[in-house]
Each structure stands twice: as C-alpha cells, then as structure tokens.
Amino acid sequence: MEGVGFLTILGIIVTASIRSATPLIFASLGGNFSERSGVFNIGLDGIMTIGAFSAVFFSYKTGSPWAGLLGAIVMGGLFGLLLAFMSIYFKANQVIVGTAINILAASLTTFLLVEIWGRPGQTDNVEYFKAVGPFNLFTYLAFVMVIVSYYVMYKTPFGLRVRSVGEHPRAADTLGINVYAIQYICVIISGVLAGIGGASLSIGSMSLFKEGMVAGKGFIALAALIFGKWHPIGAALACLFFGFAVALETVATNLPVPRELLYALPYIMTMLAVSGFVGRSVGPAAGGIPYEKGEK
C-alpha cells in the first residue's frame, strides 16, 4: 500500500461507509416509524430479504429495475401489513411475530429461488440501477428519506400523533386519535422502507439476489435506531457509524487492530448505548404493548 496517499484511503473509507450505511438507513427509518407508534418491528431483517428478492424478481420479469423497486415497495408494505395485522388485530407478541416473519422470509425466498430459477443460492442476473457519481440511486434517496422522516415525525400533526400513540395510546385515544389506524400506517411504512432497504442491497448495487445477502442488517438497523435514540437523524448517523465500522474492516489489513474487533464494534457500541453508557437511550414508553381499547 506504499504510495497510496492518506487522502485516498480516507476517500475510500468514507464512500464505503456511506455505501454500507445505505440499506441500514432505510431499515432504521422504517423501524423508527413502527416503534414510535408503539409496535416493535423485529421483522425488519426478514422484510429486507423480501424486498431484496422481490426487487430482483420484478426486474427479471419486466426488465426494468424501476419495476423491481416498485415490487420491493409493494411486497415490503404487504409484509408490514402482515406484521401489523398480527400484532395489532390479534395482539400477538410482537417479538414472536417479527421472528416468524424473519423465518418466513428466509424460507420463502429459498423456496422461490428453486421454483423460479431452478437452483438454490442465487438468481440469474437482472437489470439493476447503475451508480450515479460515486453512489447508486438508493444512497441519495436514503438521505432524502432521513430529512422527510424527520419532517414528518417532528414537524407535522401526523408525527405528533404517532409519537403520542407510542408514548401513551390511551391518552391519544381519549383525544379521538385512531390509535390502531396510526399503528397500521406506521408499520406499513416501516415495511415499505425496509423493502427499499432490501432492494438497495440487490438491484441497488448488483444484478442478482443471493441467499443470506441481508445477513442480519435488519437487526443492525434496529441497533442503530436505539443507538440513535429513536430519532431519524440520530439513527442515520448511527447507521453511518456502523457503515464506517464495516468499511474499516475492509481495509483493516493495514490497521494494527484485529478484524474481529472491528466486526464486533457496532454491537459493542449498541450494548453500551442501551446500557446507558453513552447517555441513556429510552424508547417509546408504550413500545411493544398491544393497545386494548376500553380496557380499564
């Protein structure tokens, strides 16, 4: 690496950080909507898988990556709806529903791979989004979505209502706010965003879907959400930090630090964040508790 300037390495690391952060940002913004409305979405990871697969499938069927993106949005939204339906209508345990969605997503995509392309592992090559400048389309969209999410959550009546539902649904109910409607909308939005996040992994940077390509990124996005204190901008910064850890790891051969430590860094940081080491991170008060109308 002699002769490669410090700035060049820095440039590589910065762009790599932003690239790896892109899918995380979508998913953690999605998680933010869902959790702010009081519904835990542990299924983000599975919905990303669904998004990544659907994007490739629809691009394969139509020859257009745009149709692929649309497919990821619709399928992500539908899986969001499924999670919403189970956890709001049936009041099922949200952690279990989310886990079920993760398992369903993994097995369904594996099954469909064989059904459609006749082999496990990966799909054929399809049309995908080429990079525009240093990044692909999704990266720019991610940053726009951060601003939009912040605006919606903190500057609109809708955002105020979402936050009130996540903190104290009964109080919101007494003011005539439709708690269930808000939760459905937010969980569907979280599915859509996770779906786009998944698509950014497949048709955003490569031409195919591979089994296991999401590899726990949905969970890292949830960690970023906690680390970022349930705030869209905080979460995005946390995603960038986690992206940075991944980027570092790719050039770590030159660093006097074991790679394993860098691998573990995001998780260690999250644990520190949750345990209150870096300023305590407190989530929405009513998160994870199904709201019972008319209960005393």
Binding site: K155, P157, R163, T174, L175, I177, A285
Partner: protein
Amino acid sequence: MSAVIEMKGISKSFPGIRANDNINLKIEQGEIHVLLGENGAGKSTLMNILYGLYQPDEGQILIKGKPVKIVNPNVAISHGIGMVHQHFMLIPPFTVTENIILGKEPHKGTTLDIQKAISDVEEISKKYELRVDPRVIVRDISVGMQQRVEILKTLYRGAEILILDEPTAVLTPQEIDELCIIMRSLVYQGKSIILITHKLKEVMSMSDKVTIIRRGKVIDTLNTKDTNIDELAEKMVGRKVSLTVEKKEAKVLSPILEIKGLKVLDNRKLEAVKGIDLQVHGGEILGIAGVDGNGQSELVQAITGLSKAEAGEVFLNGKDITNLPPREIIAGGVGHIPEDRHKRGLVLAYTLAENSILGSHYLKKFRKGMGLSYQNIREYCRKLISEYDIRTPNEKVIAKSLSGGNQQKLIVAREIDRDPSLCIASQPTRGLDVGAIEFVHKKLIELRDEGKAVLLVSLELDEVMDLSDRIAVMYDGKIVGILDAKDATEKKLGIMMAGGSAQDAV
C-alpha cells in the same frame, strides 16, 4: 335552567358484573353536579359511556334535549363534552402546548404551526385564568399544574360540559382549594361540571347537586344544601356508618423502630429519601403524610429490605436490620401491607391458601419433608378466612377472583397473624369500600393497643389524621416536621406537604 345532559335508562355489563343498571342522570346548565359512590359503584363506567369510551348496552343520551349516539370520544368532544381522567391522560415527554393541541393541531399546509399553537394556548389560559407555561415539558411540572393542562385540553376543544374524575385524589389541600376556585370560575363562565368523587367533604364544599350511585344503581339525587355528610354516607354505603375512628388514648412504650440518617435511591438512581431520622414507639401509630412521590415508597422499601439503603441505619427492637434480606427482616418481626396489593401483596394466580403463607412458606409447620404440606396450609388459611371475615367460597380459589377489599383483608390477615412487633401499612385502604376500610382501621388500632408499633403511610390525609397518634410529613425525601395528631390541622399539614414548615401555618 335546562338540562344540558340527560342520561336515560343506561345499563352496561362487564363479564360477571352489572356496572350500570338503568341509570338516570340529569345535568343542568351551570351547575356542579357530583356523582358520589364507592369504588366500583359504576361512576367511572357511566362517565366513560358519556365520553364515548364505552358503549351502553341499553339506554339513551340526550344533549340539550336532542338524542345523540356517542360512539367515540370524537363525538363527545364535538358535542362539547370534555373529560379530565383520574389518571391523567398526558404525554410526559411532550410540552404543555403539544399535549393541549394533540388531535386538533393548528397547521399550515402539512406543517404543524407550533407558533399559533402556543399563542392559542396562551389565549385560553388567559381567558379562563388557568396559568401555565406553554413551553415546558409536562414531565417537569407539578401535579396541580398537570391538572390545569388537562382542564385546558378540554377547554381548547370547546368543552361546555366538563367531567372531572376524582380530581382531588392527587392534590394537596391547598391545590384542592385552588381547584375549587377554578371550578367556580368555570361555572361562572357558563360551563357545567360533573364531578366524580367518593369524598364526602368535597361534595359538601364543592357541589350544587349530588347523585348517589351504589352497585350500579342511582340511589338518589339531592340538592347539596339540603343534605349533610351523614345522610350522604348512609346513602352511599347503604347502611349507617361511623365516619370517625374510635380509639383509646395511646399508651406509648419504648421505641421499636429507629431510623437514623436513612438515604435511599429510587429506580432512576436519584436520591428519593434524603436523610431521615424517625422513631416509632410501641403502642402508637405514626402516620406519614405527603403528596405521592415524595419518597414514601422508597422509605418503606428500604425498611422492609426491598431496596437498598444507601446510607444510614434501621434498628428494630435495638437490632440493626439495615439491608438485611427481607426474609430476615420479616422473621425479625416486621409485617408489611404493601402499597400495591397486586404487585407486591399477592400472587394473583395463586390460591388464597398459597398466598396466605407467602413469607412464612419455609416454616416447619407448612412443610412436609422437601415439599409443602398443603393440608396444613389450607387449614391455616381457613383459620384466617374465618378470623378475618374474608368473603370467599373457599381457600382454593385464586386470589384474582376476590374483590379488592377481600384481597386486602387476606394480606392484612397474613401480615398481622405473623405477630409482628412493627406493622408497616402502606396505603392500606386504597380502593376499598367503606366496610373494608373500617375493618382495616380497626385491625391497625388493635395492633397499637396491643403495644405494637404501626407505621402508616397514606396519601389520604383524612386517614392519616384519623388513625395516627403522631404525624410525620414527608416532602422531597425529607421529613419536614412531626406533629402530635392533636395539634395537626388540614391547613398545617397541607402547608408542610408543599414543603413549608409548621410555623408557616400558624
């Protein structure tokens, strides 16, 4: 005078209980109308129906003579009904303004117009003379102030009829006086108020009219000025009740509980008890008065070993029990009637028999080899049931199936039957009906007359004043003063509960 609200023949059942049974209620324009009844009489159910939170099984509601169907709170709000709930419906991390405008937010396009919101709140706060700071976070303001925010919430929505559900439960006597003034001024401005309460004194001082509800039925509607406390009590309970607690002069013995410089942290790791010195003697009831959240719970938890004392010492009969495990503290002679009977007093899913030996389960008389001797346990529980008049089919039903009063009797029975030298009673009558309250009070006085020490913690000032021989007032984790019960007046205690000294009250 015309009826702004008329509820006709309202009935509502929940599984196993007929909460409202053919209730008729008429509210006139510009009056303060009390709904009086014991806990569980059906007052809140009726008001939740009026506010659209529950649907009645039968009956009709008329607003200004027109029949209406109130299917949800939005409909109630649009008819000018506003409700201040017993447990405040405020979002703690939101500002005063955000709490008030929630659900009816001023906006420019899609954007929330927070400047207009703040000026709207300032305007109604000025109009009704309910001063609040629109920009502060609700979590950081006093309970009295939070109640103002709740009232402003209804006024912001144009409420003409305000329902206040047990509004005084959390207030100091001075705050109650302020509330009284606020209500009078609202009525003066043409509003009508429905006040839900079970406190007879408030009925007399605050209302124009009173409707008494017992077991889901309307017993009577009276003009307040034509009635008196004794008549109301009898109608509320259904039999003659003695409202004063009868007790002999205390025969004070040597100290049983001694606390020196006790400091305790709360669950947020903030100091909740900030250095307390206290002695409770045999043969006396020491009452701790104070507004909720001034360190009372933490004090009790530290004495009973449920949480750790950061500093200071606790002695029981001269023996240091500081930070001993609860089992040793119980065995040392402490009985504890905890403030939350569902969380700490009982295991709701266990039978009465099993609940009756919690804390003594390891004693030989309840054991058979490695296991439990259910025969002995059931026999013991049957003894408690008959001695303490616990109303239950048998000792094998689960604790959850009992009424609150009978659950509390079981706890009292268990704790007193241990023959403790110190009994700590935390909110021992919260949510109980008059009969059960009388029972618990009688038992505590019996203990005292036997020469035991009783430490009573209660948010009900009347209870503290009636039962105690000495009263310690807690404010902000400290004891601001200890009064002899004979010298204690509501006014003095009220000032001390807000942090003032007894001298201020003279």
